[in-house]
């Protein structure tokens, strides 16, 4: 039985936690009330017309307009301030940021260059302006490269994909998984490379030929048989669509191909094609419907009795919606239907995927870091329904899986090009067949590079 002082201590902890929670809630409520008491943006704008020299009010309005995704209003106010004092480097920088967000890189460049040309501008502001200037100038080039790379170490709690119950079915008979396969936790080193090239035709429609490369490799410290490598290349023109009231709309047909190795042996290759559209239905919301087809050929383990990686055709059709909730918050929601048509009847399945993620940018704790940091939680749910039983696994029951994943990433830039990335994911598959019931927690951390 717990002693009285232990109970008191425990009670105190609960009380402290409850008090802290209440304080947080009250703080949040107070903040909400404070926001509610602020005048609307139009009312605040009218105040600046009635009191043009109320600079504090004007700067506060410009800041609010930026946060509220109204760069034009921010420009309106900031350009007035700069007209009163052409040495306002912060206001010029902020106006440049507003133009950048509108996609008006030519105007953004002008403001960032002015900030950098003034020796009186402080070092941190210059650093930020320099980072933005590079990004804006790159958007004006005909040939544009972008690179994102990450390397590091990764821990998986179930690298060997051992089923939850430790049993697998073989021709309907359960067997226990033993030996090294049951050795679950494992560390590996990994490298991820994403390279993009845009060739801008520099026409009014904004046509661009896009080339995208993705490569991934992992090297296990102990389970070398699970070393992985794959590469994928896609090519296609992104063509501007002339849709009334929808500037920036585009459609992109593409071809894609890739190859993969497992255990340092050539495993599979695939080729395919697809089309994806980009429809900005408003200044803050865009919809990207698409269709993707792949033809996969499995070379190693080609006669495997059951696998999603079987030789065959794979189709995915769906759409994602991107909603800029605030200047630093983007919500993405997506849904798709997928179908696999393997050569063997038990390799055929269909299903659906729904996922959502939130990307929140925030200021790093050190002023001299020129880029924001971001945290991106996500959840994902997929279903896979096979049409026929696999006689090698369970001759009586067709497989039905439900896949859940929840996780997130933290990307912390240290300089404009280098940073640290952390990824955490919990994934679980529920299935009517014991072979496929698995759980895995993975954590990855390592340096990042972006250009």
């Amino acid at each position: 039985m717990p002693r009285r002082d232990e109970l008191t201590t425990t009670g105190s902890r609960y009380l402290s936690a409850a008090t802290a929670g209440a304080a947080v809630l009250l703080g949040a409520f107070a903040a909400t009330q404070a926001v509610a008491q602020e005048p609307s943006l139009p009312a605040a704008y009218n105040h600046t017309l009635a009191h043009p020299t109320d600079y504090d009010f004007a700067f506060a309005l410009a800041h609010r307009a930026s946060d509220a995704n109204d760069p034009e209003l921010a420009i309106n106010v900031l350009e007035r301030m700069v007209a009163y004092n052409p040495k306002l480097n912060r206001a010029k920088y902020e106006a440049g940021v507003a133009y950048f967000r509108l996609g008006s890189y030519e105007m953004a460049v002008q403001y960032f260059q002015q900030v950098l040309a003034d020796p009186a501008a402080d070092a941190d502001l210059r650093s930020r302006a320099d980072a933005y200037l590079s990004a804006a100038q790159r958007q004006r080039l005909q040939s544009r490269w972008s690179v994102y790379a990450q390397t590091g170490v990764r821990y998986q709690s179930n690298a060997g994909s051992v089923p939850d119950g430790g049993n697998i079915l073989v021709q309907g008979t359960p067997f226990a998984v033993t030996g090294t396969s049951a050795n679950k936790g494992a560390w590996s080193a990994f490298g991820l490379l994403s390279v993009g090239h845009d060739y801008d035709f520099q026409n009014q429609r904004g046509d661009v030929f896009e080339t995208r490369f993705t490569g991934f490799a992992s090297e296990h410290f102990k389970l070398n048989a699970y070393n992985i490598g794959f590469a994928e290349l896609s090519l296609g023109p992104k063509l501007g669509l002339d849709i009334a009231g929808m500037p920036g709309a585009s459609i992109k047909p593409y071809v894609v191909g890739g190859a993969a190795s497992v255990g340092n042996s050539y495993y599979t290759s695939d080729v395919g094609a697809g089309v994806v559209a980009h429809l900005p239905v408003s200044q803050t919301v865009s919809i990207d419907p698409g269709f993707d087809w792949r033809r996969a050929d499995v070379h190693l383990l080609a006669n495997a009795p059951s696998t999603l990686l079987a030789t065959g055709n794979y189709y995915t059709t769906g759409a994602s919606v991107s909603w800029q909730l605030a200047s630093n918050i983007v919500l993405q929601v997506g849904g798709s239907y997928h179908q696999g048509v393997g050569q063997r009847i038990w390799d055929r399945f269909d299903g659906a995927t729904a996922e959502t993620s939130l990307k929140i940018d925030f200021a790093p704790p050190i002023d001299s870091i020129p880029r924001r940091w971001s945290i991106a939680p996500f959840v994902k749910y997929s279903t896979y329904n096979f049409s026929n039983p696999n006689p090698f696994v369970d001759p009586l029951n067709a497989r039905h899986d439900r896949f859940y994943a929840v996780g997130g990433t933290l990307d912390a830039a240290i300089t404009a090009n280098f940073g640290i990335g952390i990824g955490v994911q919990y994934a679980k598959t529920a299935s009517n067949i014991s072979n496929y019931k698995v759980k895995d927690v993975s954590v990855s951390v390592g340096p990042t590079f972006r250009y």
Binding site: P52, F59, L102, R128, L308, G423
Partner: protein, 308 residues
Amino acid sequence: MKTQVLPRALRSSVGRYVVAVVAAAIALSSQAVAQKAGIIASANPSAVTTAPGGSMRTATVGADVVMREKLETKGEGTLQVALLDQSMFNLGSNSSVVIDEFVYNPSAGAGKLSATMTKGVMRFVGGQVSHTDGATIKTPTATIGIRGGVVTFAYDPKGNLLVVLHYGSAALNGISGTHAMLTRPGFGIIVGTNGVLGEAFLVPDSLIQQWVNKIETKLGQNGGVATPPTDAQGGRHGIGDPKLPDVALPATTFFSIVGRGDNLANGLAGSKQLNSIPPLANVVPPVQQVVRPVPNCVTSCSVLSTKP
């Protein structure tokens, strides 16, 4: 007598009504003429304005600007006019603009805005009206309709007009009967003195810099205020703090790529598991042919990252 008095009274009443109606009409008319469109937001000498029926006056910060008011700058003069709907005219040196019509319904966020520009350089920043019903800028050689938008208008010494889109869209109609659209920021079209529209082209930064310089307040000027704002004031309100957005891979894309690698490994994992089962050799084909599938896509199936 009564019959004479009544008609006289009636006539008198009618007369009074007529006078009242005429007076009201005149008053309303005057009110319409003097309808406020916005204010002078900043002014550097020499900037002048001329209200309809009024005389030319030096532009002063905070002064009302009314419909049909003429805005002019000379020498090093610049002028900003902020309209009630959040639109703004930024006039560079030696420019002339007349606000022909401005109607704004704040509750609907809609209205009508048209102006005529005859010389100089001007950057128009759109507000509520241009986002809903559109704004129109008339010139002697072309009429430009603006949706949303930020647009620069600049005359060259020969009288050609260059229209540059910074945001939104602009529909150009030349007096020659030619039409064109600007839809991509940074692109411009030259309107010849005969109203013929040229091809859209990517405007060089150097040209844009020239016009920005003409529109901006010069060092030593103060936009017409006695005490200008300071950088520190802006800093206190977070102005200048935003940093370049992060360009990390989306989380779903990252895990889609990593997960694809996991899928590949899982095939081998299934074989290893089967290898560890002694009786298996007697009941199934060679173990290396037994692969355990995992519920994930064969390709990078994240629907948030299907765009290659």
